[in-house]
Point group: C2
Chain length 304, copies 2
């Protein structure tokens, strides 16, 4: 298992570096670099940007943590593993552009090993990426989903892509509002934990998703970054970002795992947007550009 962890860790840290380098070139500002260690074991490297030229706030975080008792939030379908000792390695990014015509994006790849005395260690991969537009463009959403699809196809074909796309739609759903967080993308968890997927295939899919991120996102950002916006668009963006906060703090397994396992709070909560507004029982005017988000984009659709 040790050689596997090393291989995963090497890929993850390299992925973080490549993504940050591409984002820095795109933004023109450097990401700050914050290393941290965790008293209970492990540590990480947070790469964070605030008040960039393009990104208002965002982070690309690497962490490698271990612990004596895995929280239930770490695995979707294997609650019997809760309480085992664990090792977790991952890269997680959330980027909030300033321009409301540019979508917020999230990507995560992760690898877990759960160990117990007198039992074979259980390992699995998880990950995915998803897009959250404020003012959407069909072309952008189709591009993002197309990249997701191409990343999965070599690892199980159309059926596997459909499965991870549908899982994403189910996962990034605000139950208390019966509303999707955004337009989805890919989500997977527990890949390999049932012994049916071998390590190379599971790691291969995870790498394919990680490697697809830059091409999935930057062309969209490039197309929309020069669009002019005003107070109205910023206001709607701030309102919709409230949904991002609600999802991440109430439902997101990664956030809850981090906070429950004594993770580094500031690194976990770099996913929260820089400025957010809540407003009572608000709805966009019918026929407005804001209403279009709900009517066209916050719907489960086949985009790829």
């Amino acid at each position: 298992m040790d050689a596997d962890i090393l291989a995963v860790k090497t890929y993850f840290t390299g992925l973080q570096q490549r993504i940050v380098a591409a984002l820095e070139e795109f933004d023109g500002h450097a990401f700050r670099s914050d290393g941290w260690t965790r008293p209970a074991g492990g540590g990480g490297l947070s790469r964070v940007i605030e008040e960039g030229d393009f990104f208002e706030r965002g982070g690309v975080n690497f962490s490698h943590v271990s612990g004596g008792a895995m929280p239930a939030s770490a695995t979707a379908h294997r609650p019997e593993l809760a309480g085992r000792s664990f090792e977790a390695v991952g890269v997680s990014l959330v980027l909030h552009p300033r321009n409301p015509y540019c979508p917020t994006v999230h990507m995560n790849v992760r690898f877990f090993i759960a160990s117990a005395p007198d039992a074979k260690p259980v390992w699995w991969f998880g990950g995915g990426m998803d897009l959250t537009p404020y003012y959407g463009f069909e072309e952008d959403v189709a591009h993002f989903h197309g990249c997701c699809r191409r990343a999965v196809i070599p690892f199980g074909g159309e059926a596997e892509y459909r499965r991870l796309k549908a899982w994403c739609d189910r996962y990034f759903h605000l139950k208390h509002r019966n509303e999707p967080r955004g337009v989805g993308g890919l989500f997977f968890d527990d890949l390999g934990a049932d012994g049916k997927t071998d390590f190379d295939t599971a790691f291969g899919l995870t790498r394919s998703v990680g490697d697809a991120f830059i091409d999935a996102y930057l062309p969209i950002a490039t197309r929309r970054r020069a669009l002019a916006y005003g107070e109205r668009e910023r206001d709607f963006q701030a309102y919709r970002r409230g949904r991002y906060v609600e999802f991440n703090l109430v439902f997101d397994r990664g956030t809850l795992f981090g906070l429950q396992s004594g993770g580094r709070t500031e690194s976990i909560l770099m996913s929260l947007p820089p400025i957010v507004k809540w407003r009572y029982d608000w709805a966009p005017e019918p026929g407005s550009a804001e209403a279009r988000l709900y009517e066209v984009f916050l719907q489960q659709r086949d985009w790829a």
Copy 2:
């Protein structure tokens, strides 16, 4: 039990009216009135203010809901009652002033009955109030805690006051930051559920807490409302309001109960502040007015 529910409901709706009337007089703007019903049973009346003269956002909500299976979040120490059918009546308020020198405040009183076939119904009261300053004043915090203390003393003396004060300190604690939400006040739950407190005493304490709210809060708001503030103070307020969001969405039992039991989302989330900011790994400058909040006020202290 029906006569008891009616008595509690009559008191709660009257309390809501009295509090809203006092707050409207203080603010100069009317609270909007939003009645709602819940398909699964019950409903409520939300009284909400946004963009008032003094209050930037806030609500005083009454609700009376029932359901087939009580979520575990409804009771602190009686998880064995989860799954019973329930009735819940309550008044809950959160007020976010615009002026950063005026504290955010929360008050809640609630009454539950959990029923099961072939078992005696179990009832209990819960409630409390607590204060969250941005720029604190010792005099204000002492006043608030003094009112809390006077509300409890007739119902169990100093020991009972200490118990509810300490419970509040424990409850309104952000574990992931090891930081109190504010300066505390009172918190109680499950009062009567163990059969050791009779209905009249438990209802009496709950009324005493509800009745104490206006005198606990409005003198503070009156003293500080004219204080001049600028961008710096608004910015710090927005940053600190992030902690309020984190607490309410990650830890608050009332919020989770509401969202889990299919409550009315907009009424539950009226507790969230109007404008909030998150910023990576920020800390106030030593010796600043902002640092004083942490050093003097976000500490467990005897204030009464």
